[in-house]
């Protein structure tokens, strides 16, 4: 309850701080406009043309089903990678031996190109939801795993000793000593994984499914419809920005607030 109250209190100032991000985004739109006006609409449609095409797709009812399908796959793959990656990473971090064993495996997973996973997934799951969900999961998993591993490995032993000396209850030890530290590693990893999930799912859909934004992109490419292509890209990026800045970033700030308290 107190978390919700403090979140609501800080919400106006957080939203106002978004103006800085908006300024940068408008500069990006200006750069986009400059390139578009130089090369013409066939190569790159102007931002306004793209936005009006996106509105048209929404009006026609074509946008939401595709966006929902893409979001479902991306979030499912992301949720799986968060659950499995966090649990295994925390478990591996507790033991020095386990973390030593895990590192080469993570390196292999990180080094494996997502497109290779996608090809394997297509062979295993066919043109079903399983292909994009699995590809997202396997590409995001190592990021979350490493975040959880590092969070556990860097726990301050002296802090733990002190907590034990003061006979801190186990629940407090977990919630007030371990959790804030681990979460401060986990959260950035989750945010990176989410961005990765969004990119991977579109790529997977482009090659493996009949619906979703990726599939819509494939159709617009085959029609040489650059403005529809840009409209779909804008929709996906917009969704990612909304999820990150309206949902994850405020939570991240809240859980990392302890860092700001002067020692």
């Amino acid at each position: 309850m107190s978390l919700l109250r403090s979140w609501l209190t800080s919400l106006p100032s957080y939203l106002w701080s978004g103006w800085g991000a908006l300024a940068s985004l408008f500069l990006l739109l200006a750069a986009w406009e400059a390139v578009a006006s130089h090369y013409g609409a066939l190569v790159l449609p102007a931002p306004l043309e793209t936005f009006s095409r996106l509105l048209q797709l929404i009006d026609e009812g074509a946008a939401w089903p595709e966006l929902l399908a893409t979001s479902r796959r991306a979030l499912l793959g992301f949720a799986l990678s968060v659950a499995v990656g966090s649990v295994l990473g925390l478990a591996a971090g507790v033991s020095m031996t386990a973390s030593m064993m895990a590192r080469p495996l993570v390196t292999v997973l990180m080094g494996m190109p997502p497109i290779a996973w996608l090809v394997l997934a297509m062979l295993w799951f066919g043109a079903s939801d399983g292909t994009p969900v699995f590809t997202v999961f396997i590409a995001s998993f190592p990021l979350v795993f490493v975040g959880a591993l590092q969070g556990t490995r860097t726990l301050d032993n002296q802090l733990k000793d002190m907590a034990l000396a003061f006979r801190l209850p186990r629940r407090m030890l977990l919630l007030d000593v371990y959790l804030p530290h681990v979460v401060s590693y986990l959260f950035p990893a989750w945010i990176t994984a989410l961005a990765m999930a969004w990119k991977i799912v579109v790529m997977a859909e482009l090659l493996a499914t009949q619906d979703g934004v990726g599939a819509a992109l494939a159709v617009s490419r085959s029609h040489l419809d650059t403005s529809a292509t840009m409209a779909w890209i804008t929709a996906v990026v917009g969704l990612l920005l909304a999820v990150e800045y309206l949902l994850l970033e405020p939570i991240k700030r809240e859980v990392e607030r302890w860092r700001e308290v002067p020692s």
Binding site: S13, W16, S17, W19, G20, L22, A23, S24, F26, L27, L29, A30, E33, A34, S37, A46, P47, L48
Partner: protein
């Protein structure tokens, strides 16, 4: 030099500090310039014939007559204080006043005597300001004031560029549009200094009253630099006449950067104090002005004059009124004015800016809104003339002989003899 010219002139109270004659010139031109403009708009009374026509006369006089006089008065007083150098002598203020008068006269008569004298005097005023201040602005490696140096240099460039175009027979308005951007940058630079004092004084007053205020106000450079960068980029793009949509996005970036700058200002109830709110409204007007400019460049049907007047009539007008009231009083030996005319004038000026901006909306009654906005402006600077001019025309109440702040703690008089 003045003493040899006339001992009476040398002791003239108006010349006690450089800002006094220039602030008086600012207020006088604010009244006369807009009264003439309203006479032209409402009754067709002819304006002085200048290259480019009446609109150019109006924009030039408001920006490089009214605005530049206020900037000159401010920097000639503030820069010695910021750089811990000696105040300028009385001959400096007098010299700039003469140059300013010659610039006005020659520009107003340029339809008769040609554009060269106006080019000479107006450029000389702007360049002399840069030449005189550069050694102080850049002299001390630890206190270099690049913001003021860049702003004043750009303002001189705009002045020279305008008159080069005017002499060459080209339409010179693009320089005045660029001048608005330069003025906005200078306002941001100057406000970062003024606001540090005004807002922290307001915070301290609340602490003295027993309220708990955790943090002091800080005008943080990163946000200020982003705002200056975005405004400068839009100004340059507009001067280069890049495609309208591109300029539109840049204007929106400038608007967002100005709103972002307000993050520093959200300091709680101390913001609700009159001087804090007055300065706060400047950034709001600037953000709204660039926002309106962005919309007018991206969408059909909205006039760009709405955004420009939010910037000039609004942001520039309120910031100059604030400088007249703050620097114009404290450096004359008076405490800040606590009378009601200040908030009334500020609200009236903001209202005038909003009325003038609404004239840019499709289907708005343009002549009526323009007239109302102009009358609002005239009332505000009429009030400034009534309450501020007497202060600059008479000796300091605390026995001071220059630009120093009140030497006597009890100098809290209203400044007007009743």
């Amino acid at each position: 030099m003045l003493k040899t010219l006339s001992p009476r002139l040398a002791n003239w109270s108006l010349l006690l500090c450089s800002f006094r004659p220039l602030f008086l010139a600012t207020v006088l031109l604010a009244v006369v310039g807009v009264a003439l403009w309203l006479g032209f708009l409402g009754f067709g009374i002819p304006l002085p014939g200048v290259p480019g026509g009446p609109l150019v006369w109006h924009a030039h006089e408001m920006l490089l007559g009214f605005g530049l006089a206020a900037v000159a008065g401010f920097v000639l007083t503030a820069v010695p204080e910021f750089t811990s150098t000696a105040a300028f002598g009385r001959q400096v203020g007098f010299g700039f006043l003469l140059l300013w008068l010659a610039a006005r006269l020659s520009f107003w008569l340029s339809g008769v005597i040609g554009p060269w004298p106006a080019a000479l005097f107006n450029s000389a005023f702007a360049i002399a300001l840069v030449v005189l201040l550069t050694p102080r602005l850049l002299g001390d490696p630890l206190r270099r004031q690049y913001g003021f140096f860049g702003g004043l240099g750009a303002l001189a460039l705009v002045t020279v560029g305008f008159h080069v175009d005017a002499v060459a027979g080209q339409y010179p308005m693009r320089w005045l549009y660029a001048g608005i951007g330069v003025m906005m940058v200078l306002i941001v630079v100057a406000m970062s200094r003024i606001s540090m004092r005004i807002l922290n004084d307001a915070i301290q007053a609340r602490r003295d009253a027993g309220h708990e205020v955790d943090e002091d106000y800080r005008a943080r450079p990163p946000r200020r630099n982003l705002a200056i960068f975005c405004v400068s980029l839009f100004t340059l793009a507009e001067w280069l006449a890049l495609p309208a949509p591109l300029n539109g996005w840049l204007a929106l970036a400038a608007a967002a950067a100005m709103f972002n700058l307000l993050n520093d200002w959200h300091i709680g109830r101390a913001l609700l104090e009159r001087w804090s709110l007055m300065l706060y409204s400047v950034y709001w007007l600037m953000a709204l002005g660039y926002g309106a400019l962005g919309v007018s460049l991206l969408a059909d049907g909205f006039a760009s004059s709405a955004g420009r007047h939010l910037l000039t009539l609004g942001a520039m007008g309120v910031s100059i009124l604030a400088v007249l009231c703050i620097a114009g009083r404290t450096h004359s030996g008076y405490a800040l004015d606590q009378r009601r005319w200040v908030p009334i004038a500020t609200c009236l000026l903001v209202l005038a800016a909003l009325l003038r901006a609404s004239a840019g909306l499709p289907g708005a009654p343009v002549p009526l809104l323009n007239m109302l906005a102009g009358l609002g402006w005239l009332t505000v600077f009429g009030l400034a003339l009534r309450y501020m001019a007497p202060i600059w025309l008479r000796p300091r109440p605390d026995g001071g002989t220059g630009c120093e702040e009140p030497m006597d703690e009890r100098s809290t008089g209203s400044g007007c003899r009743t």
